[in-house]
């Protein structure tokens, strides 16, 4: 076998190895966790834990703790109840707080994990629902927090943690209802606009809610759509800030809030019914945005040009009206031509030709009656 053949075979072998690598998501540094046993029928379970459990039911699962940093780290792994954060966002209670809900139902096999750089480990846990738990959705968290000695610098010392939401639904009559509380706006110092849509979940389960703020120009053409799908938790108010950067040209705009959600049987966390969504709308907000300085300068120049054109047009109209009212008839004699007539009446020959509709080569025949300026 010659050298060329060897190269080809080695290349093919390399290709074979490459083709058999299982490619996961792109790696970034940091730490965190993922559910160890996701449900292939519900893609949402790749990032959060979702269970439907009856009272006094037990479920075993695991959380994969991941250290993607460049150094060995020790993590505290613990469960807490959920707590509403401002704006209705999902948040988790602190380790030091008393846990009375989902956080107290979860028992982790380990509370501390030490992982070398780039390694991960599954921490098993058991979740047991109590006897008298209410129907509907209950939320909690499993958190991974780096174990660090307490910082000593004065001021606010910050520590970071990553949490995975744990959703436990107790079967029963699921109430799914969203109402729009308000839709307002405010202007920031830099001229941009902040929209504040606010909705309330009046049901007993969390609802994935599509929130959309559509801003249009004065005449209705769409300018920008903002929003997205956000979970609104049981009994909570969800509110968001959508910032509209100051439009370059400024002017009048109008914005509408549309909220839609799945209110049908079969809908749940990570599950859609496939039926028509319930849609809510708010009254339209009109607002004026002052143009940016550059746009203002351009707009001023355009306005000045338009004013100048208007002035010229008005001047022209008035002049033609004066010509029609004041110019007198003159009968052309044989020796006269348009330039001599213009000189005689002290007027431009072009104006004389225009007023009398004399076409090139601008010959005025003897005997023709034309209009000329009055002689004072």
């Amino acid at each position: 076998m010659n050298t060329k053949n060897k190269i080809i075979i080695i290349f093919a072998a390399l290709l074979m190895f490459v083709s058999r690598v299982n490619v996961h998501a792109i790696e970034y540094s940091g730490f965190g966790g993922r559910p160890a046993n996701s449900d292939p029928n519900n893609p949402r379970t790749e990032s959060i834990f979702i269970y439907t459990l009856s009272p006094e039911e037990k479920k075993e699962d695991g959380v994969r703790v991941i250290n993607n940093s460049q150094v060995t780290k020790t993590f505290n792994v613990y469960a807490t109840d959920s707590t509403p954060s401002t704006g209705g966002a999902f948040a988790c209670k602190q380790f030091l707080e008393a846990q009375t809900g989902v956080g107290s139902w979860i028992k982790l096999a380990k509370s501390e994990v030490t992982l070398p750089a780039g390694q991960n480990e599954i921490v098993p846990f058991t979740i047991s629902t109590p006897e008298n738990v209410s129907v509907g959705e209950h939320n909690g968290c499993i958190l991974i927090q780096e174990k660090k000695s307490e910082a000593t610098a004065s001021g606010v010392n910050i520590s970071m943690r990553t949490g995975l939401r744990v959703v436990v639904t107790i079967p029963g009559n699921a109430l799914r209802s969203i109402v729009i509380e308000s839709f307002t706006l405010s202007k920031k110092d830099d001229g941009s606009i902040l929209f504040y849509p606010k909705v309330k979940n009046e049901g007993n389960v969390s609802i994935d809610t599509d929130v959309s703020v559509v801003t249009r120009y004065f005449f209705g053409k769409e300018f920008l759509t903002q929003g997205g799908q956000y979970p609104v938790f049981r009994g909570e108010i969800g509110e968001w800030n959508f910032e509209l950067k100051r439009p370059f040209w400024g002017g009048w705009y109008k914005s509408d809030l549309t909220v839609s959600y799945d209110n049908n049987y079969g809908a749940g966390v990570g599950q859609v019914s496939g039926k028509t969504l319930t849609r809510l709308e708010s009254p339209t907000l009109w607002f004026f945005v002052t143009p940016t300085p550059a746009a203002l300068a351009i707009e001023m120049i355009i306005i000045l040009l338009l004013l100048a054109l208007l002035g010229l047009w008005l001047f022209s109209v008035r002049r033609w009206r004066w010509i029609a009212n004041h110019w007198v008839s003159h009968t052309v004699i044989k020796s006269e031509n348009i330039q001599e007539l213009a000189k005689t009446y002290n007027v431009s020959w072009k104006l004389l030709a225009k007023v009398n509709s004399i076409e090139p080569p601008y010959v005025v025949e003897a005997g023709k009656i034309i209009k000329v300026p009055p002689v004072s």
Partner: protein, 238 residues
């Protein structure tokens, strides 16, 4: 005739060998059989770990800051209630969020104290971070401490930008509203800094700077150079 025969043989041996090698490798590759080639070539392995949703404080080179902190403006002892201010998220301590395909249905970053009963602790004195009484200047008497003081956080004033990701956007990522911690109803133990909707980038990274923080300091608060408060920045897939 002989010359033609020899050329044909050479041609057959050369290209038959190459084709045969490809076929063998291809069939073994498809069937999952491990192939060991009797050659000096090393085998290459590559492991790519699954990424995780995370929040961190990083410097301008996106290196993790070991002990991040926020220094509020220095106050002087006063017989009146006063306000100290600071900025959470600076060019050297940026709030950095990464979602490497780990939370496709959205996420939220929130700020909370290590405990709702925490206080600013300095040498020989404390004051509160979550007492709204008298605009943060007095004690409500509703918790175990007897000190006033309240912290307000304003993420709406901050600047959001894409991090290292060249193809990502800040679309469907929204900033939280200005809020103050409160130990009395309506209780506010956690303040939302930023949220990503389900339709935000599934693979993306973002940096946030300029979150305004202000702290009401009660009148006659004792002077100390070491007042500290521990806050936790959490990111949760929702």
């Amino acid at each position: 005739m002989n010359i033609f025969y020899l050329n044909l043989k050479e041609y057959f041996l050369r290209y038959f060998n190459i084709s045969l090698a490809f076929l063998i490798i291809l069939s073994l590759s498809i069937s999952g059989t491990v192939v060991v080639l009797a050659s000096a070539t090393s085998s290459f392995t590559q492991v790519i770990n699954p990424g995780t949703l995370s929040v961190d404080i990083v410097n301008a080179s996106y290196e993790s800051v070991a002990s991040p902190s926020v220094a509020l403006s220095t106050a002087t002892f006063s017989f009146s209630c006063q306000t100290s201010t600071g900025t959470f998220g600076t060019n050297t301590e940026r709030i950095y969020i990464t979602n490497p395909d780990a939370a496709d249905s959205g996420w939220a970053v929130s700020l909370a104290a290590a405990s709702p009963t925490s206080t600013w602790v300095g040498t020989g004195s404390t004051f509160d971070f979550n007492d709204p009484t008298n605009s943060g200047c007095s004690d409500s008497g509703s918790d175990s401490d007897s000190v006033g003081g309240q912290m307000t956080v304003n993420p709406a004033s901050s600047t959001l930008a894409v991090g290292n990701c060249a193809s990502c956007s800040t679309g469907n990522v929204s900033l939280g509203s200005q809020s103050a911690f409160s130990e009395v109803a309506p209780v506010v133990n956690s303040i939302t800094i930023i949220t990503g909707a389900a339709s935000s980038d599934d693979i993306g990274d973002w940096r946030l700077t300029g979150v305004s923080i202000s702290q009401k300091i009660p009148a006659e608060q004792k002077a100390a150079s070491d007042y500290t408060l521990s806050l936790t920045l959490s990111i949760v897939a929702s």
